[in-house]
């Protein structure tokens, strides 16, 4: 699990390329690659999500709006029918009266009073009733005022009732100062003339009808005339005859709805209908916010769905982009490491060849000096003349010894170079250690570094790769030398372990390695000596080489005290598969 999570850690953001030259540059700009991958994948996932959400958002909103409109429209239609019905009832009652009574009966005050009494019993809210003849004169009247003989011929309503047979007035206060309306119908008389029956109706009953409407807390219902004056009190403060703030809607024979924005109270949906054969316009206003409450809830749900969707997409996209870019980055790192390793091996091989060439060139003149000085000594020894001249023989011996020293160095160089490419063979651990130390002997002397080698005698010759061991020791000793100041101690010890393995320790009393670096020292390109030419590959290659020969390496260090590398090597090479190794052709 932890390993899996590691793949999602963006190593590429912090890892750099330490190599020089085009070969060692990374193949990609990983931050840009990652950004592009995230952006493209996120866009292709989120855009359709946004489109679907936008579509759904609009469809849902329109559905809710249209549902609200149609509900308002229904309320208006129903209320219109109620009002029409209210007025029609009374008109029909008047129709019945004029047909049920003769003109003479109607103008009989006692009869008329009885009719009024019956009407009040049946409908209530009817305050008076009068009969007007064709000249406009009220010839009979029952009610609270003395209106008998009043002439209405000059009035607008009289003309209308003559023209259309019926008249329903707007609401007005009249002498009683009570809001009421008038219904008048005309009736043809047998003599060809006509009479008009007129009655006044209080609007209280209409008020009652309107107050029973379900309009919500912010809703309102009005009955207005064509001038926009209220015909009955509205729910919120407005009184009869006040002009409403809403503009008068255009005439339409059917029920209509429209949007209305009130600067103080917000958006409203207005449903209205012109009540037929009356001067009344019925209006119902409903607060849009209230109506759209269910939509607001749905809207929040859609937005939550969208946010969660985007969050999931982004987490997925970022996770996968990181995972894949990481894998590419790691592969690229490996490529660079391999290139470095090849270059490093080539460098070592070149140094080996150079050393061998120099050693060979020096060897021939050295052999001549050796033979010439040998001959001089021979002459001294074989002739009586110089045999006893100790000074001369001493001088020749000195030349001889120097030649022997040079010879030892060239042999060592040649031997080292010769074993560079050789793979598994029987090796003598102590010899290899001493060979490698031999190269560092002079430096150790100059810097007064004390080297102790303690290889247990019971370690047998064992199968291993001499060249790789040489590289390993050279790397470790060089590291120790770099860490130590003058007068340091390098201790190399080897012992046989119980399980047929050799345990080798290389310990120095140098500057040590801080704990934070200790975990990284075997990683490629990790170096604290980059400024002084460290490639950061020495220990990484050492690690690989030891793995190749089936061994293991561990490190422990205390800053200021010293560092100890512990290597374990197998005595038997049977389980080791040799990896293909890169060599350059000579």
């Amino acid at each position: 699990m932890k390993e899996l999570l590691k793949n999602f850690y963006p190593k590429f953001l912090w890892g750099g390329s330490s190599g020089k030259g085009p070969l060692y540059q990374h193949m990609f700009n990983y931050s840009r690659l990652w950004r592009s991958a995230v952006m493209l994948t996120a866009l292709s996932a989120i855009l359709p999500l946004l489109a679907i959400t936008w579509f759904d958002y609009n469809v849902t909103r329109k559905a809710v709006e249209s549902d609200t409109m149609s509900r308002t429209s229904r309320t208006v239609s129903n209320t219109k029918r109620t009002i029409s019905g209210f007025l029609l009832e009374r008109k029909s009652a008047l129709d019945f009266i004029v047909h049920d009574n003769t003109f003479e009966e109607l103008i009989d005050p006692a009869r008329l009073e009885k009719i009024l009494e019956n009407l009040q019993k049946s409908f209530g809210g009817i305050s008076d009733i009068g009969v007007i003849d064709a000249t406009g004169r009220q010839i009979a009247y029952v009610g609270p005022y003395s209106l008998t003989d009043k002439n209405y011929s000059g009035q607008e309503w009289f003309r209308q009732v003559v023209d259309r047979g019926i008249y329903i007035s707007e609401v007005f206060l009249g002498f009683r100062n009570v809001p009421h309306l008038v219904i008048a119908i005309s009736h043809e008389l047998p003599n060809g003339s006509f009479s008009i029956l007129r009655t006044a109706i209080d609007t209280d009953q209409l008020n009652d009808q309107m107050t029973t409407l379900e309009l919500g807390a912010q809703g309102n219902a009005f009955i207005i005339n064509t001038q926009g004056e209220l015909q009955i009190p509205a729910r919120h403060h407005e009184k009869t005859f006040e002009k409403i703030a809403i503009p008068i809607p255009p005439f339409s024979p059917s029920t209509e709805t429209l949007d209305y924005h009130d600067p103080y109270e917000g958006d409203f949906i207005i449903g209205y209908a012109y009540v037929p054969d009356t001067p009344f316009i019925l209006m119902i206003a409903k607060n849009k916010n209230e109506l759209m409450k269910s939509w607001h809830k749905t809207r929040v749900e859609i937005l939550i769905f969208l946010s969660v969707g985007i969050l999931i997409v982004m987490v997925g996209v970022i996770g996968f982009a990181t995972f894949f870019v990481n894998n590419i980055y790691i592969a690229d790192q490996r490529r660079i490491k391999t290139l470095h390793q090849v270059e490093y091996s080539n460098k070592l091989a070149s140094i080996g060849r150079l050393a061998a060439g120099v050693a060979h060139e020096i060897n021939n003149p050295l052999a001549i000096i050796n033979e010439k000085s040998g001959l001089i000594k021979d002459i001294f020894q074989f002739s009586d003349k110089y045999a006893k001249d100790e000074k001369l023989t001493g001088l020749v011996d000195a030349i001889h010894n120097s030649v022997a020293r040079c010879g030892a160095i060239t042999k060592q160089l040649l031997s080292f170079a010769r074993h560079m490419d050789v793979s598994f063979q029987p090796v003598k651990l102590e010899t290899i250690i001493r060979d490698v130390i031999g190269f560092l002997g002079k430096e150790a002397e100059y810097r007064n570094i004390h080297i102790t080698i303690d290889v247990a005698k019971n370690i047998p010759d064992f199968e291993s790769d001499r060249g790789k061991l040489q590289q390993v020791f050279l790397n470790l000793f060089n590291n120790s030398f770099a860490a130590m100041t003058e007068g340091g101690n390098l201790n190399v010890a080897a012992s046989l372990m119980k399980d047929d393995r050799v345990r080798l320790t290389v310990a120095d009393n140098g500057c040590g390695i801080p704990e934070k670096d200790l975990k990284k020292i075997f990683e490629p390109f990790f170096s604290t000596r980059t400024r002084t030419g460290g490639t950061g590959l020495g220990l990484s290659i050492t690690y690989s080489l030891i793995q190749e020969i089936g061994g293991a390496i561990e490190v422990s260090s205390t800053p200021g005290v010293g560092t100890r590398f512990v290597i374990t090597l197998p005595l038997h090479a049977k389980n080791i598969k040799e990896k293909p190794h890169a060599h350059t052709p000579g």
Binding site: A356, N363, N364, A367, I368, E371, K372, L375, R418, D421
Partner: protein, 124 residues
């Protein structure tokens, strides 16, 4: 006992021959394979000390020529080079392989060893 020294370094091979003769070993020397071949036609040698790396014909090739002319002749290689090729050749005949600069006593010891084997009828 007569031995043949072949090395392209005249200064080296002449001095070595002189030193061997001082020790009672008769040694003729030449600096190339061609001269060595001519010499072998007229003279019998018990042993040849050959430089492995010489211009035109090297020591290992010369060894085969000499063995044809004088079957049973023993060979000691000398080399100033530590190449893999030389090492392989030397490893195959370890007793007969010496690296320059040589120690005269080591050489005489090897000569004696080789000739002892010849006397016993062993060796390669």
């Amino acid at each position: 006992m007569r031995i043949l020294l072949v090395d392209d370094e005249e200064e080296f091979v002449a001095t070595l021959a002189e030193r061997l003769s001082l020790r009672g070993i008769t040694a003729d020397w030449v600096t190339n394979a061609h001269d060595a071949e001519n010499l072998v036609n007229t003279q019998h040698y018990d042993l040849a000390v050959l430089d492995v790396k010489m211009p035109k014909v090297g020591g290992r090739e010369l060894k085969k020529i000499l063995e044809k002319k004088q079957p049973g002749i023993k060979t000691i290689y000398l080399t100033g080079h530590g190449s893999e090729e030389d090492y392989q050749a030397g490893s195959a005949e370890a007793e007969f392989y010496l690296m320059k600069p040589i120690n005269i006593n080591d050489l005489i010891r090897k000569i004696n060893d080789a000739l002892d084997r010849k006397a016993q009828g062993g060796g390669s």
